[in-house]
Assembly symmetry: C2
Homo-oligomer: 389 residues x 2
């Protein structure tokens, strides 16, 4: 939960219901900085991109990385419709008019069903109300308004040398960020030029959103944006700020995995001894995306053969006889072969809500990574097989 102390200075928030989602629950969030803020963002690498992604990219270019507001809606992805881009443009235009700022200083974002027209009038209709409601208080309301199949809000806070960071995210399914992810917004009152922000974001993303997977599907709307408005008048060191940003983003990314559709267990996969960090990531991703590994975890089955097999499919050359695997800190495989462990003991340990898998290659490789995923349960199927979630 947010409190006055952990919110960055100079940002205000509002949320309301605009009738975009069927159930009456806030579906539009507005985040406004008192002054023009430095901004950096990363977006989905899907070839199919939503209207707001196209407009957000252009706005960042036109404004040279200066934004003053984020306008986000849930319930409709505003993607794969003839009007997607026009609706996103209309939304930033009316938001700019209402707030008295340039339209290209508004970053739009949407999430929800793909291929259904979004009525721009719904957002325009609630803008006066949103503007009037702007305050520091509704941070949590804004974080709630961007959720879809999520079962809980995802927020994270950090401080570094008097500078505050506050982040919010949504995401539960279609989670397989590559270079970007689902929606996440981080506000900070640090003084940081756009170039510094971009570098910090790029590095932090590689240790957070680019290291999680729920189901291996990459969304069309993935957007992670950071706004730094300098209201603290403090310029933190690039290193200190980068660490704080990575901390916030890693927390949000892990919250997304923990709230993965149908997930009951949070799984941390650590890979060490790979030829390169990139190779380590490939191995971790292959293990994280294997339905057979994920269902074994769901069933508390110490079936390490599936982990070894998934690693073998990663497209990384390694000698299986150099592979060691640990689950919950217990050696299950040494040099590619079974260790002498008690299946009953490990099975009980795997009933825990947090599970760890360590995959280590003996030898001189120094590549390593940490990756987060969740188990795959029948509930994931129930959620996604239901008609037009």
């Amino acid at each position: 939960m947010s409190t006055g102390e952990n919110l960055p200075l100079g940002f205000r928030y509002a949320a309301t219901y605009a009738g975009i989602r069927k159930v009456e629950k806030d579906d539009v969030a507005l985040i406004v900085s008192d002054t023009l803020a430095s901004a950096a963002a990363v977006f989905t690498k899907n070839r199919v991109v939503a209207g707001p992604v196209t407009v957000a990219k252009r706005n960042l270019r036109v404004s040279r990385g200066r934004m003053q507001a984020i306008l986000a809606n849930a319930g409709n992805a505003n993607c794969a419709t003839p009007t997607a881009e026009a609706v996103a443009l209309a939304s930033v235009r009316v938001a700019g008019e209402a707030l008295g700022i340039a339209p290209h200083c508004v970053l739009p974002a949407s999430t929800g069903v793909i291929g259904v027209e979004l009525d721009a009038g719904r957002i325009a209709g609630v803008l006066p109300k949103l503007k009037a409601a702007l305050d520091t208080g509704p941070f949590d309301a804004a974080a709630a308004a961007i959720l879809t199949t999520d079962t809980r809000s995802k927020t994270a806070f950090a401080q570094v040398k008097g500078v505050r960071l506050a982040g919010m995210a949504k995401g539960s399914g279609m989670i397989h960020p590559r270079m970007a992810t689902t929606l996440a917004f981080v506000m900070t009152d640090a003084v940081a030029p756009p170039a510094v922000l971009r570098t910090a974001l790029k590095q932090a993303i590689e240790r957070s959103f680019n290291r999680i997977s729920v189901d291996g599907d990459t969304s069309t709307n993935d957007t992670v944006a950071v706004l730094a408005n300098g209201a603290s008048k403090i310029t933190p060191s690039a290193k200190g700020f980068g660490e704080a940003l990575a901390e916030v983003l890693a927390s949000l990314a892990q919250q997304i995995v923990k709230d993965g559709e149908g997930a009951r267990k949070f799984v941390t996969i650590e890979v060490r001894g790979a030829p390169t960090d990139r190779a380590a990531e490939k191995i971790a991703r292959s293990i994280a995306n294997s339905p057979l590994v994920k269902t074994a975890i769901a069933g508390s089955d110490p079936n390490w053969g599936r982990i070894l097999s998934a690693a073998g499919n990663a497209g990384v050359a390694f000698n299986p006889q150099q592979a060691d695997i640990d689950m919950q800190g217990i050696a299950v495989c040494r040099g590619g072969f079974a260790s002498d462990f008690s299946e009953d003991v490990l099975k009980k340990k795997l009933d825990a809500p947090e599970c760890s898998i360590q995959f280590t290659l003996r030898g001189r490789g120094r590549g390593q990574t940490r990756f987060w995923t969740c188990d795959l349960t029948e509930e994931y199927i129930r959620i996604n097989a239901s008609y037009r979630t």
Copy 2:
């Protein structure tokens, strides 16, 4: 079912229970040609390979593509154990002795749990019994002995100009063949030198086993082998034989998908208008492996946005506004946008046991492919989350 007429001449079969699997059900199959046969095989591309795969590859090399027997067991993959290769070697040696043929003319294959020692004595112990039982009759018994989580046998037959082909396969989960697949054996009495057989197999695989997916996991034991013993004394044309082989392998591959773990629906994905056949395959594979597409099919949800999004993740450059999608022959997306279709009508059509998805890119691309997969149901989770299936 096999009958005397559709079985190739000069092959005999046997199956028995050797105590490898827990339930008392045949778990060893022996296939023997009366004479040395031409042989070709493709194997898993997983970096982790089972002992029998290593030995089978070496035997094919040493014998220069001449085999006389296939020895396969279910219930244990003979993979990722210190003795895996030694056990596979011992098995082909005792089989060779029993049959009076060179050990390197026996092709071994295993399927089952990974990482548990296989007792070579169990196979050696049943070889006299297997040899005594060899006959043309037990073809179906051999096909049943190689099954694991499969719910039914997979066999296929073809004839071309007096030459007979008979195939058997197993496979239900861990199905994502890349250049190879699960276990499948095809026997033919055609006269065909190893080189001709290799070419025909390579081409047929690309239209069958390399175009299916159940869960995106590639096994450590995948083996498809063809034996041609020439007993018919007929040398079919390379083209005719290739077509017949492709027909048998496509049937077996489709039977594997239809028996996919938990599968209720068989899905055919056709991609057309891609820049190249390879690009078409990538798009089809991305659609086939998307859990969100597979769960939507399970729920009879005409959620074409997930299909478009999955195609966008294939790593193929295309303009989404040139994308047309049809489900069950009904236009659901034209030029990247929703078509005007009745969701209720299509939802009912998607309740059928066979579903079709057509993804077409407008323009001058001539790349195309056909790919088969199944829906993803709660039953898949139940099967794979259960302790050590």
